[in-house]
Symmetry: D5
Subunit: 146 residues, 10 copies
Amino acid sequence: MERTAAIKKICDAKFRLGLTWADIARSIDRSEVWTTAACLGQGTWEHDDIEKLAKITDLPTEELEILTTVPYRGRSESIPQDPTVYRLHEILLVYGDTIKELIHEKFGDGIMSAIDFTMDIDKKVDPAGDRVVITMNGKFLPYKKW
Amino acid sequence: MERTAAIKKICDAKFRLGLTWADIARSIDRSEVWTTAACLGQGTWEHDDIEKLAKITDLPTEELEILTTVPYRGRSESIPQDPTVYRLHEILLVYGDTIKELIHEKFGDGIMSAIDFTMDIDKKVDPAGDRVVITMNGKFLPYKKW
Amino acid sequence: MERTAAIKKICDAKFRLGLTWADIARSIDRSEVWTTAACLGQGTWEHDDIEKLAKITDLPTEELEILTTVPYRGRSESIPQDPTVYRLHEILLVYGDTIKELIHEKFGDGIMSAIDFTMDIDKKVDPAGDRVVITMNGKFLPYKKW
Amino acid sequence: MERTAAIKKICDAKFRLGLTWADIARSIDRSEVWTTAACLGQGTWEHDDIEKLAKITDLPTEELEILTTVPYRGRSESIPQDPTVYRLHEILLVYGDTIKELIHEKFGDGIMSAIDFTMDIDKKVDPAGDRVVITMNGKFLPYKKW
Amino acid sequence: MERTAAIKKICDAKFRLGLTWADIARSIDRSEVWTTAACLGQGTWEHDDIEKLAKITDLPTEELEILTTVPYRGRSESIPQDPTVYRLHEILLVYGDTIKELIHEKFGDGIMSAIDFTMDIDKKVDPAGDRVVITMNGKFLPYKKW
Amino acid sequence: MERTAAIKKICDAKFRLGLTWADIARSIDRSEVWTTAACLGQGTWEHDDIEKLAKITDLPTEELEILTTVPYRGRSESIPQDPTVYRLHEILLVYGDTIKELIHEKFGDGIMSAIDFTMDIDKKVDPAGDRVVITMNGKFLPYKKW
Amino acid sequence: MERTAAIKKICDAKFRLGLTWADIARSIDRSEVWTTAACLGQGTWEHDDIEKLAKITDLPTEELEILTTVPYRGRSESIPQDPTVYRLHEILLVYGDTIKELIHEKFGDGIMSAIDFTMDIDKKVDPAGDRVVITMNGKFLPYKKW
Amino acid sequence: MERTAAIKKICDAKFRLGLTWADIARSIDRSEVWTTAACLGQGTWEHDDIEKLAKITDLPTEELEILTTVPYRGRSESIPQDPTVYRLHEILLVYGDTIKELIHEKFGDGIMSAIDFTMDIDKKVDPAGDRVVITMNGKFLPYKKW
Amino acid sequence: MERTAAIKKICDAKFRLGLTWADIARSIDRSEVWTTAACLGQGTWEHDDIEKLAKITDLPTEELEILTTVPYRGRSESIPQDPTVYRLHEILLVYGDTIKELIHEKFGDGIMSAIDFTMDIDKKVDPAGDRVVITMNGKFLPYKKW
Amino acid sequence: MERTAAIKKICDAKFRLGLTWADIARSIDRSEVWTTAACLGQGTWEHDDIEKLAKITDLPTEELEILTTVPYRGRSESIPQDPTVYRLHEILLVYGDTIKELIHEKFGDGIMSAIDFTMDIDKKVDPAGDRVVITMNGKFLPYKKW
């Protein structure tokens, strides 16, 4: 059983059963973002969670087992074409240097970790048009001198 | 007076006078993120703010006036090399499709605007290592059918 | 049933039945541009329209159902080779900065939305050679300051 | 006198004198789009128009004379980073194949000329948010068989 | 029946039957260049010609019918590796600006159309080594001002 | 004296003195294409021709002497943006494989030389619109077996 | 029978039968370099040689017949990753301009043909480590003036 | 004194004094290829040779001294446009895999070193057209297992 | 039996049997790094080792035999997206020039061989967080002068 | 005083005074690798170290002061051409996936930090040819689940 096939099976099951990512996240008791990423092949699963995932998607455990190995992470295209994904790239083009400047001003020389990192995506209802709120939370790692 | 020259003058003044981006933001009564971005040439200034900026940076108003025109936004490199900026690109590579999926699940077909958009960068003190918190807040725009 | 397969089935049916995009657009009571784009996988369908589409293309509804999910938008190549499509890229190369200048002159700092957006393609008969008229109509979105 | 220098002088004069592209267009009795494009170096000027341009920009005719030669057209970057210009590229990514399909459906095999071509950019006031209307008008050129 | 499959069938038949492109061109009474290009998927066929093509290649008409639709033109690689094709790219690298200069000197600002365009490829016998003669003939299209 | 500077001086002189490429070609008794290419830095000059060139452009011989060395040939961009030059690239995209096929059919395995090569650019007056005629003439070189 | 399939069959047969390229070259009485290149799809075979090739590889002649047509030459990647092939690219990066300078110094303006060209690869035994000796031999082609 | 400036001075002196690379090579008693490469900035000079180079080029030693440091090797463009240099790239495209195959057949798994490497460029007079002979000689390095 | 298929079979067997790379390395008495690389298709196997590999992976010898031929080395993407692999690319971006400087300072002009090369990857337990220690060991090869 | 200018001054002083990187490292009591990287603009300096650096390089402190700000890290080219630097890229191409596999096998899902990271470069004398030993030491960071 290959990883790509496992991902496809989950997505097909989700569509067929009318599941949401939130449903799946609740079933394994993890955040929506981590769960979605992991279902799309960007995370490493625990054996226990695989069993819960198998149950809610009505798939055999052994077809999902491959997801307990560490994946090669990344998207198929480095600069996204899809408008929804592109907007995040555009934010990087416009505000990337600003984020760097302010991280250094507040923390010193270093980075925000993308590994010791969590993210939430929320909906803020607004009469002038609802708003997407993305909160990224990463550990600051200071550059080592030696 | 050219835009690039104006940006350079602001950065030189900031270094020479030991100013922080927060200092400059307070002086024009705007957020740190917008102020930093605008000082780096990614925003359009109001005439009034230019005068306040001239005052705190000790620069002649006319050398900054060009910043009231609309800029060509963007960075010099589309895929960043600098590790601090790269981590944001990596987040897009790993979680980009996840963000797309969850925006659609919560809002339907459309995008988070990068124009009707605000961002904050905060420091969350943590004994296990301080954390960078980036909050993006953009209006949801539904795809039009016609 | 996969999205790509659904698109191919529609195109095959269109060719086999001698349908035009205009025929299909009329059958679902939408514009030609939106209908064509959506049949080529660049739009999200309503369940009701899928049924009408199934009828005119003589295809089973369930083979088209996948089109009610939100697509990954974009073309396979970012810079087009096909001469008909390339001309639009060339217009961007020659007049792109001009469009930017005039949008800013007439509206201020901001963009023409490509999401809250409609387009029409018309034929204007002309004895000196018929003319293609493309009308793009997008909401102006002012850049937010905060 | 070099072409790039001439373009820069026009832009500087426009900024210094507070001119709009519309002002310049009126002074040479041409459309705003053509005038802006030509001032940005994307068109070939007539000697008569150079004199009018010199007058309104308060520049010596001989510094603008180089603009009567045919330019090398194009932008510095093929895929735009600036969000206002990018939206046009995105429209091509999402609707490019649709435009091709409908041109062929209405006209047969051929292209919309980008040479025998005019464009207008208008503002349509709308209480729900003003709209940018771009109208492209190009001669249809049928592909020759021989 | 897909376009790629149709092209492959023609090429296989040509090889199997020992046909030349000249044979095929004669059978449909068109030039060698147009015929070859159209057989390779770069042209739109008339129904009548498809029947003649079916006859000489000994293929069923319905397997070639797809060639009456307008193709997406272009090669799989923008910068050719094959030495025979590369030489044409090299001519563009070495003489491209020269061609532009001389078109403008002889015709004014505009282009040689690649649509209202014919080409011939001839063999000129020469004792010092035979010569390939490629003649391109395209309508001059003057750039429009408006 | 550098090569780029020499080219610029020739072009400036041509503009200032109102010369055509044809004038310069006649003065050195060479074809228009070779002369233009060589003035743009794509050819190696003879000492005698440099003197004639110096005379007609009214430039000191020693400022042009560098043109007797062999240049690094090529354009600054491999895929052209300028519409006049692009059309030649497009011809390669659409007809490149066709040219390859017909060269092989008429000559066997080999190439048309771009070194033992001449080119002419002519104007063919036509009431339906004048036509650009480009004639390329290159020695066929058969691929060696050993 | 496709060309790629034919190449694969030869390579499989070579591995299965324990043949060397030298064995195959001897069987068709050609050089090792030409033979290897042609077996890898970079050359055009004679009918007679195909029969000898069929014999030594124990393959049916008709499965190899496609190799008598002219191939599209080139590698799948323009800049090689494989270390053995990369060293040749590196030699070009380090010594490419030197080769150009010395060809011009010894021969004048022109090129070393890659078509009227032979190559040998030899082993020179050396107690300090054996050495690879690659000898390239190409006709000098002078650039034509006209 | 910068490296690029030193290279330019050598080239200017060579042109001004009418020197050949062979002259310079003789003056430092090294091969033509190494000498040319080193003058173009692709090699590290000994102090003694710098003095001889200074003498023959009539330049002050201290302006050349920088050439005793180790350079960053490489060309400005990875895929060459210049036809003379391109032919070497084409040889790699056509024969690269062949060279790999034959090195492995004759030596086993490993590479031809581009560091413990020499090259010669010779002219072989031939009534049918003189020939360029390039001989590359590199130590075979076997891949280590551990 | 193809190389890619052989690699896949080994990986599948490793997953199915719960083997580690260390287990496989021990079974053939080689280092973990070499063994892993060779199982992933980046090394050339000895016949004897293939038999041991067949045994531990419970696969038929003949399905692995292809691994005794020399591979085309490299990864599918030159700039890695996967965060674990990317960090090594980032180290090259940040410290690449430093490594070059220090190799030259300690050894003179030359390179660290990537062929006569070994590598180890170790775990250093550390209460502040375990550390990855990568040790690269390559023969210094001095640049040859001739 | 700009960063690039400061770096150049240090390198010029190092060359002029005959300093080694080791000399400079000792003078500020840091490792050779960190010191070299920081002198090349890839690190952030402390004020105290700047004074020591100024002393050993005989440069005014204020010309080096800019180095106390956080740099934009990276090299000018992502894929290196210089052979010494390229070998490190090649190691990534050949062994990148192997390193990933073994980090995961020994540590689980996560990365070796390139921020909490040190490196040493040593010379190991060996009669068969001295060896370069590069030791990388980075904290393992486990991927967070949430």
